[in-house]
Symmetry: C2
């Protein structure tokens, strides 16, 4: 079953029409939602153990990039997929509107600072991809400038990869109808109202432009070193299952080992 | 006279045999050492003004990379060429042996953090080039790893350039004989003894390996976006003259302007 999720991984240069990618489908999971949620708890435990091993071995660096339209579920993924992991070795870097100091530097400056260290998993909640998404849609820089950034980004991620960082990138793919439901929920539910801003409606009005920009990103920046996964994300449980499984399979493929014990440890007696 | 220094700039892919580059020559300066030193004082004043303009305009970022064999004169350049500039807008980033935290990240992590902001001149005293120089000579990483770094570095500098950073790279080229004199001076002069360590002699023993590594660096990483200059550096005064002039000409070519005054400033009366 597991490897079924590989179909969501984009090959380099693969053409992408997001409308052809079903946001509701759950074809790689035989059971229902309830089974999936139970299975996710098992995956949480697996991830917890793998993360501890990663931290102990201190050889690999893991970078996970989450991108989505508003309400796509980035926060939900972080909460659900990483439930139970030790925060000492897992760090979330959220990239909001850049500060004045950040804007004074090149756009990768604030990103690179947050790159993972050995033994660390870093989750990018939004990322350098905003510099070819929101920046493009709102025309914050000229086309001449943002067009060059696809090459920069591929080179940056290639360098991270060559130097020993494993990179996984997930685009949480929701439908415009699902976004409507989720925004309405934010308006209606007093505990979610803090998440809503009228700016979200303006962004929703730019849906098609964002979709076009995302298609460009997905086509141009899915590489062997740093592949994109298009995750059907209208159903949270399925989305979580895919992402959790892909991360776990990737960590398992690294053949990590606990560092060797100090020589003679078996003879040590604690007074 | 000024443009005469352009001959020290390497074209992309230009082959380099450092033994063919005279370390003693002073052919682009008609006068003697005394005239040169007086002229440098004028250049200091020019640079001071241009740097103030750069700082006020706050549009451009300037990155100056200094590399050399030991005793090549990097510290001397910083002291002499930047004499009088306002430290608010000029920053020296010295890259020594990496810390444990730095080693836990990719090699460009600590470098990128120090990249200049708008309005700033940053001088790299050593740089990411050490990761294909000392690291190569001492085999701190495998050839497979360091060979990929030339591409990373070119892509990194291209990105900085595309995003508005002007990059100038100077290799201070001294002869092995001149290094002998300078090391001896460090041993004999009590005020310079702090600069000497017996490790310097080991490095001197690796002169040919460093030269080969530098030739590779100079051939592979001199680009339109970020050219290398090979500076004859046995004579400090000539070395300073070249570097100061190249920096000043570069700053002048940017056509910087003071920001416009606030509207109505001419009617403001201070009580």
């Amino acid at each position: 079953m597991k490897k079924a999720f590989e179909k969501y991984r984009l090959e380099p240069d693969q053409k992408v029409q997001l409308n052809d990618w079903d946001t509701l489908e759950t074809s790689a999971w035989d059971g229902g939602k309830k089974d999936a949620k139970l299975h996710l708890l098992e995956l949480n435990t697996q991830l917890e153990k793998l993360q501890e091993l990663l931290y102990a071995e201190r050889k690999q660096r893991i970078l996970i990039v989450l991108q989505a339209m508003d309400t796509g579920g980035k926060d939900g993924v972080i909460r659900s997929v990483f439930k139970g992991v030790n925060p000492s070795g897992v760090r979330v870097a959220s990239f909001k509107v850049p500060s004045a100091l950040e804007l004074d530097h090149d756009y990768l400056w604030r990103i690179h600072k947050q790159a993972p260290a050995k033994g660390e998993i870093v989750i990018f909640n939004r990322s350098h991809y905003e510099d070819v998404l929101v920046v493009r849609v709102h025309e914050l820089v000229s086309e001449k400038v943002w067009k060059k950034r696809f090459d920069h980004i591929n080179a940056f991620e290639k360098m991270l990869h060559d130097e020993g960082t494993v990179i996984l990138k997930f685009f949480l793919h929701i439908s415009k109808e699902e976004q409507k439901i989720r925004l309405q929920e934010r308006i209606d539910n007093p505990e979610k109202q803090w998440k809503f801003s009228s700016g979200d409606l303006k962004e929703r009005g730019l849906w098609d432009k964002y979709r076009d920009a995302y298609e460009d990103v997905l086509e141009k920046t899915s590489t062997k070193s740093a592949p994109w996964y298009i995750v059907p994300a209208d159903r949270n449980w399925y989305r979580n299952l895919i992402i959790s499984t892909v991360i776990i399979e990737t960590l398992e493929s690294l053949n990590m080992k606990y560092p060797a014990a100090e020589a003679g440890i078996e003879k040590v007696v604690i007074d």
